[in-house]
């Protein structure tokens, strides 16, 4: 009986821990242009995170450029993709001059533009949101791929907290992993 009780206690603990699990399942949908495309080799990634209509706290709740940059820089060079990140948040002319300057040095084969998409709030907190991605061919300047990634239950999985930096970085990693998998599935990696 005592043994059964211990087993039940362990099972309860397991269930409780599972309930607290913050693993977030991100989902990416994409649309790719028809015809063969160049594989990604040198990608300039410009990122717009903040929105004017959000409060500072709400903007800081979103995954920040630095967090996404760490993920891209950790994950893409090992698979043969050189990256250059441009923080276009609040930049003049929507970041155009910054991108031009960075590209004069980097000479990208493709441009990947990331921006915050639809945000869903709960009691004024960012509960979950989407990141929209557009990939442009540098030579033709045509948009060749587009994706939208849902970060459901974002608040629980990546809340902004000084003690939760690793949790937020894990959320950024999950986003980059999802984007990478979709690019691979669409033949661009």
């Amino acid at each position: 009986m005592k043994r059964l009780g211990r087993r039940l206690a362990l099972m309860s603990l397991g269930v409780a821990l599972a309930g607290c699990t913050t693993e977030q399942k991100v989902v990416t949908q994409s649309n790719a242009a028809g015809g063969p495309q160049q594989k990604l080799r040198r990608v300039l990634i410009a990122i717009w995170v903040h929105r004017e209509k959000l409060t500072e706290g709400q903007n800081l709740a979103l995954l920040q450029v630095e967090e996404l940059q760490r993920s891209f820089e950790a994950k893409w060079p090992p698979i043969g993709i050189a990256v250059e990140i441009v923080n276009a948040n609040g930049a003049p002319d929507n970041g155009g001059p910054l991108i031009t300057t960075a590209n004069a040095r980097f000479r990208a084969g493709q441009f990947l533009f990331l921006q915050t998409g639809t945000i869903r709030f709960r009691n004024n907190f960012v509960n979950e949101y989407d990141i929209d991605a557009s990939l442009y061919d540098a030579a033709t300047r045509a948009r060749i791929w587009r994706a939208s990634t849902q970060l459901p239950d974002f608040w629980r999985s990546a809340t902004k907290d000084p003690f939760m930096d690793s949790k937020r970085q894990a959320a950024a990693d999950r986003y980059v992993d999802s984007l990478t998998a979709k690019l691979r599935e669409d033949g661009l990696i």
């Binding site: 209509k53 945000i119 060749i144 587009r146």
Partner: protein, 128 residues
């Protein structure tokens, strides 16, 4: 609005008419218009290509299209409606077939830039 990496001369109609999208809000929508600083002199509308979002999630495209047709018919304006593709890549390519066949004198493109949704208990939710 999506960042425009390359110059575009598309005329944007920014409709802050979210009220019309939310069934629970009854006030009239308000509109803000932005036109390019340099634009061609206005020409009378004869054939209008109405370009709507890909689905009816955020706007009732079928009713909207019918309403435009009814409102413009007395002025002799013919309306043809097209739909954007989901995760649209190149709007110009998508519209080419309509333009070749219908030869519109004007295009009206409607995109939903933001949506506010008010939900009662248990929590208040908004979407942007």
């Amino acid at each position: 609005m999506e960042p425009q990496p390359f110059p575009s001369r598309r005329l944007f109609l920014l409709a802050s008419g979210s009220a019309v999208l939310a069934a629970c809000v009854t006030s009239d929508p308000t509109f803000i218009y932005e036109s390019p600083p340099v634009s061609a002199p206005p020409a009378k509308m004869q054939r209008l290509l109405l370009w709507l979002p890909p689905n009816d999630d955020k706007i009732d495209g079928t009713n909207l299209s019918a309403a435009f047709s009814a409102a413009l018919a007395p002025y002799g304006v013919v309306v043809e409606t097209g739909r954007a593709t989901a995760l649209e890549l190149a709007r110009g390519s998508d519209q080419k077939g309509y333009i070749d066949r219908f030869n519109p004198t004007h295009r009206l493109e409607i995109d939903i830039a933001a949506r506010r949704r008010l939900v009662a208990a248990p929590a208040q939710c908004r979407s942007f």
